[in-house]
């Protein structure tokens, strides 16, 4: 078996990024769209940690902490918006919220 190299981690991260992008673009349920965004941010973190390990530099891990911080902030605000939206429109389907559509 080949030893695992940085490229394995990069390929895995690219795969997770693509899965998350498919989820954001195709799903209708807003909760699942927010979960897909979490998948994308995790793909970013895998990349950062892989390079941090490859170059023995702590900067990558520090940036992964900042990415996790932003993921938490994004989830909190996004779910708050979702609750406000559900109270006003009674729907969680992304394509039924078309107030700005002409």
């Amino acid at each position: 078996m080949h030893p695992v190299t940085t490229e394995h981690y990069l390929a895995l991260s690219a795969g997770l990024l693509l899965i998350g992008t498919i989820g954001v673009l195709t799903r209708r349920n807003i909760v699942v769209i927010l979960m897909s965004i979490e998948l994308i941010l995790n793909a970013v973190n895998i990349n950062l940690i892989a390079f941090s390990h490859a170059w023995h530099n702590m900067g990558g891990q520090v940036f992964a902490i900042f990415v996790i911080t932003d993921a938490v902030a994004e989830a909190a605000v996004g779910l708050g918006i979702l609750i406000a939206l559900f109270r006003n429109k009674e729907t969680v389907q992304a394509d039924e919220i078309d107030l700005l559509k002409w």
């Binding site: 941090s52 390990h53 900067g59 900042f66």
Partner: protein, 171 residues
């Protein structure tokens, strides 16, 4: 040998959990699959000697964000939402676009493979670090990245206030 086996099993967890997350009809099933995927990512952190981030991933993501998600699913859950169409009308265009992006990424990996610093991952570190991972991370975070750290706390404060204002009925 063992690290290769571990890497591939964690990779299966991550990608399988991700695929189930975006294909399950019920939002609760999606959330459970996302937990599996996030635990796989945590295992990958451990494999790369990032022990502190492993703990943060489990405590914050699996323990914090996922509970938040399940709580919101409970608050807004609609039974008929589970019986409606799962994907929107543009799904074919989206799949084509994502395939193009994936092909581009594959091309980059193919062309730029030589420029990556190839590191073989082994479970036992060849050079034992002077201090642990958490100490090294704290040294970097509280000296070199002190200002971004403070700004991150500001971001969190704004997010907390913003989400309370969003979710409150009457301010």
């Amino acid at each position: 040998m063992l690290d290769t086996v571990l890497f591939y099993s964690f990779a299966v967890l991550v990608l399988g959990g991700g695929i189930f997350t975006i294909t399950r009809r019920s939002a609760v099933h999606s959330a459970i699959s996302l937990i599996v995927s996030l635990l796989g990512v945590a295992g990958l952190y451990l494999l790369q000697a990032a022990e502190f981030l492993f703990a943060v991933q489990i405590v914050l993501y699996v323990g914090g964000i996922m509970v938040l998600f399940l709580f919101v699913i409970m608050l807004v859950y609609l039974d008929d939402a589970a019986h409606m169409r799962e994907f929107n009308r543009q799904w074919l265009v989206a799949l084509v676009a994502v395939t193009v992006v994936g092909a581009e990424l594959g091309y980059f990996f193919h062309r730029g493979a030589a420029s990556f610093h190839r590191v073989a991952y082994v479970l036992v570190a060849t050079v034992p670090p002077a201090a642990g991972n958490t100490e090294a991370l704290a040294d970097s975070l509280f000296s070199e990245y002190l200002l971004p750290f403070e700004i991150a706390s500001l971001v969190l404060l704004v997010a907390v206030v913003g989400s309370v204002i969003m979710a409150k009925k009457r301010i």
